[in-house]
């Protein structure tokens, strides 16, 4: 990701802000690190192994060690970039977590989560989890990928802590989530709604509900009658809300702790969480997850880039022009406007448009476009090529005081895939990858290569998903020839960091005793 910030800055400098001193970001470089640079904990690498892995010449593909397992026999592989940054800026985390109620009063939130965490379980499903009375807990399987830019600080921190925020969010609604028999109450502490008796008096006439709004009289001893039509909120929505808020909390924590620690850069985050029979895919950034079921591709995330979020960004620039610092225009033009074109009519589009129209060029339109460039080269304020993620609080337009962060969102899009709704075979998987994978391979190519690889494996070999992940990373990295890294058909291989999970969805893998006992509880 680093180059996506750097090269843009370079071309931008050549553009409108040429001739400058080195616009160093206030980085807090003198502060101690919150976490040192590392590779994913589940790889269990020694410092020597980490040193070996950072080889930009041979680019070794790292996989799980013989002695390590990930839940569901998930496969994982990663490779470092071809030299654009000294370190691998991707990070990953995978854990099986038992979320338990906070100690003490059930509804008073406390700061310390008491979830039992187990990383890199010795044999897939953690032994010992059974003993810890799961009857009052909620079991979560968690897979996450982070793609850092402009430093590894934010990515490392998020890979260590995002799950904590998810735990804390879920703890607040633990009892409600475990009680699938009735819908989440609208107000805590009141009588719960019983879905068996859908409120006959819920749907009132407009007049009655207006009367209610004006302050309906009610006896203090009996629960007040409901005058409003009330939205029914499903349990699923509570999980989605918990994930969304966890991302926000993570971002705030990075911002807060930047005051005391050196937390460099920012990162994208892609999380897959298996909770109560459903896969929740939360994505903020340009990583991607797809499900391959019976050879069919089911996208379960969408990328957030300057192009995909153009209208949101333009609208923000329009509403809050001071964020543009007088240097940028929120309008988009097919290319930079030249001074001699003022007064002429040129193609443009605004936040209200997906198509194009002509407008008369004014002086203001000479400013640099907020969104500029195409495809992987598209940038916000000529600086960053991804529009959602964590961190980046200090990121500024080169040699200026214009902050980028207001245009970035830490809010993930969460999609839900109901695992129990379908039959899954041994070759049905969820593939998660950072943009290093998807930049060079299409969904179809990924699906094709994973499917054919798995078909040639012993179905009982638990390493098959690891080997498939290694094979996939190899296909995206390619081999080093005279003219750089090359993949099939002499196309350019990915010079970026590449990280991939292949999560098998076969029903027998996740219908473990813990899972079923949870459902009985």
């Amino acid at each position: 990701m680093l180059t996506r910030v750097k090269s843009a800055v370079a071309s931008f400098v050549g553009g409108i802000m040429a001739g400058s001193s080195d616009g160093e970001q206030p980085s807090g470089a003198e502060l101690p690190h919150k976490f040192p640079y590392m590779r994913p904990a589940f790889l269990g690498l020694s410092p020597d192994e980490i040193e070996c892995s950072a080889d930009h010449i041979a680019r070794p593909i790292l996989i799980l060690k013989e002695t390590k397992r990930l839940p569901w026999a998930t496969g994982y592989a990663e490779v470092i970039n071809a030299g654009k940054s000294a370190l691998n800026e991707d990070q990953a985390c995978c854990e099986v977590i038992m979320v338990k109620k906070k100690p003490g009063a059930p509804s008073t939130p406390s700061k310390t989560p008491t979830a039992k965490r187990r990383s890199s379980l010795p044999n897939g499903e953690g032994l010992g989890l059974r003993e810890s009375s799961e009857s009052d807990g909620l079991l979560i399987h968690y897979w996450a990928l982070f793609d850092g830019h402009a430093g590894s600080g934010a990515a490392v921190m998020a890979s260590k802590l995002l799950q904590q925020h998810i735990i804390e969010q879920l703890q607040d609604v633990l009892d409600i989530l475990r009680n699938l028999g009735s819908l989440p109450p609208t107000v805590l502490g009141e009588e719960p709604n019983h879905p068996g008796t859908p409120g006959t008096n819920r749907t009132l006439t407009r007049a009655a509900s207006l009367r209610g709004a004006a302050g309906a009289p009610g006896s203090p001893s009996t629960p007040p009658p409901r005058f409003f039509t009330e939205k029914k909120i499903q349990h699923e929505s509570l999980v989605i809300g918990a994930l969304e808020n966890a991302f926000k909390d993570m971002d705030s924590q990075i911002e807060r702790e930047k005051a005391v620690y050196n937390i460099s850069g920012g990162c994208t985050a892609l999380v897959v969480a298996f909770i109560l029979g459903k896969l929740y895919v939360a994505n903020a950034g340009d990583s991607r997850a797809i499900i391959i079921r019976n050879g069919e591709i089911i996208p379960v995330s969408a990328e957030f880039t300057p192009e995909s979020e153009r209208q949101r960004l333009q609208f923000l620039g329009f509403m809050q022009p001071h964020l543009l610092g007088g240097e940028f225009t929120h309008l988009e033009f097919p290319r930079r406007v030249q001074r001699k074109e003022v007064g002429k009519k040129m193609l443009y589009r605004d936040f209200t448009m997906t198509g194009w129209a002509y407008k008369t060029i004014e002086d203001e339109d000479l400013r640099f476009p907020l969104i500029y460039g195409e495809g992987k080269k598209a940038r916000v304020m000529a600086t960053i090529g991804v529009t959602r993620g964590l961190g980046d609080h200090d990121l500024k337009v080169h040699d200026s005081n214009i902050y980028i962060k207001p245009f970035l969102s830490c809010c993930p899009e969460v999609r839900v895939y109901n695992l129990t709704q379908y039959e899954h075979g041994a070759d049905d998987v969820l593939v998660m990858g950072t943009d290093g994978l998807w930049d060079v391979l299409s969904n179809e190519e990924v699906s094709e290569s994973v499917t054919s690889f798995l078909a040639n494996c012993d179905p009982d070999d638990l390493h098959r998903y690891t080997m498939a992940a290694q094979d996939l990373v190899m296909r995206a990295r390619g081999v080093l020839r005279d003219r750089g890294w090359r993949i099939t058909n002499d196309r350019l291989g990915s010079g970026d960091d590449i990280s991939v999970y292949i999560i098998p969805l076969m029903n027998s893998l996740w219908t473990t005793p813990y899972f079923t006992s949870l459902h009985r509880a």
């Binding site: 070996c52 010449i57 041979a58 680019r59 390493h463 290694q470």
Partner: protein, 212 residues
């Protein structure tokens, strides 16, 4: 830890010949009797001393199985030394040496030092490849040769260290361009200050010849 040089090695050869066991014996002084098929690449590291200098060996243990061959091949680049291993109790692993050697020569830098290793010398009763055959192959192809046992640790130290000595001599002769990391050699932090004199001054007869 401070070192004068870092040498990168790669261990190659058919599956089951004992590559992972050799590495484990060298780094941990242990023997692993059950065969854990290597399915990717594994790393080891150890410090040795040559000529009074601390040298760090960074060792890449590759997968020998045919299906991983294209991945293994991609790791030859940037190695200063290679241990090419066969199993003295399995003639087929000896017969495959030519293929391995061609592969190595094609995908590595031309100065890579190759040590041919006939492993499992403890299994004398099951020997299928005579020591003389190994020696002859090595002579013919310009390799160094040793028979080892990862089980008894016989010659294991020597195999790794002799390879390092050969690389070290080549550096002294100026054959290696030590400033090019693609040659699998790094100069340690304590050495970096004197590095320019080493690189420029010593390579009398073959200056710049290390570049391929």
């Amino acid at each position: 830890m401070a070192y004068a040089y870092l040498f990168k090695y790669i261990i190659i050869g058919d599956t089951g010949v004992g590559k992972s066991c050799l590495l484990l014996q060298f780094t941990d002084k242990r023997f692993q009797p059950v065969h854990d098929l290597t399915i990717g690449v594994e790393f080891g590291a150890r410090m040795i001393t040559i000529d009074g200098k601390q040298i760090k060996l960074q060792i890449w243990d590759t997968a020998g199985q045919e299906s991983f061959r294209s991945i293994t091949r991609s790791y030859y680049r940037g190695a200063a030394g290679a241990l090419l291993v066969y199993d003295i109790t399995r003639r087929d692993t000896f017969n495959h040496l030519t293929t391995w050697l061609e592969d190595a020569r094609q995908h590595s830098n031309s100065n890579m030092v190759i040590m041919l290793i006939g492993n499992k010398s403890d299994l004398e009763s099951r020997r299928e490849v005579k020591k003389e055959e190994g020696e002859a192959f090595a002579r013919e192809h310009g390799l160094i040769f040793m028979e080892t046992s990862a089980k008894t640790a016989s010659n294991v130290e020597e195999a790794f260290i002799n390879t390092a000595k050969e690389i070290y001599e080549k550096i002294q002769e100026g054959v290696f361009d030590i400033n090019n990391e693609a040659n699998g050699i790094k100069i340690g932090p304590q050495h970096a200050a004197t590095n320019s004199s080493l690189a420029g001054g010593q390579g009398g007869q073959q200056a710049g010849g290390g570049c391929c």
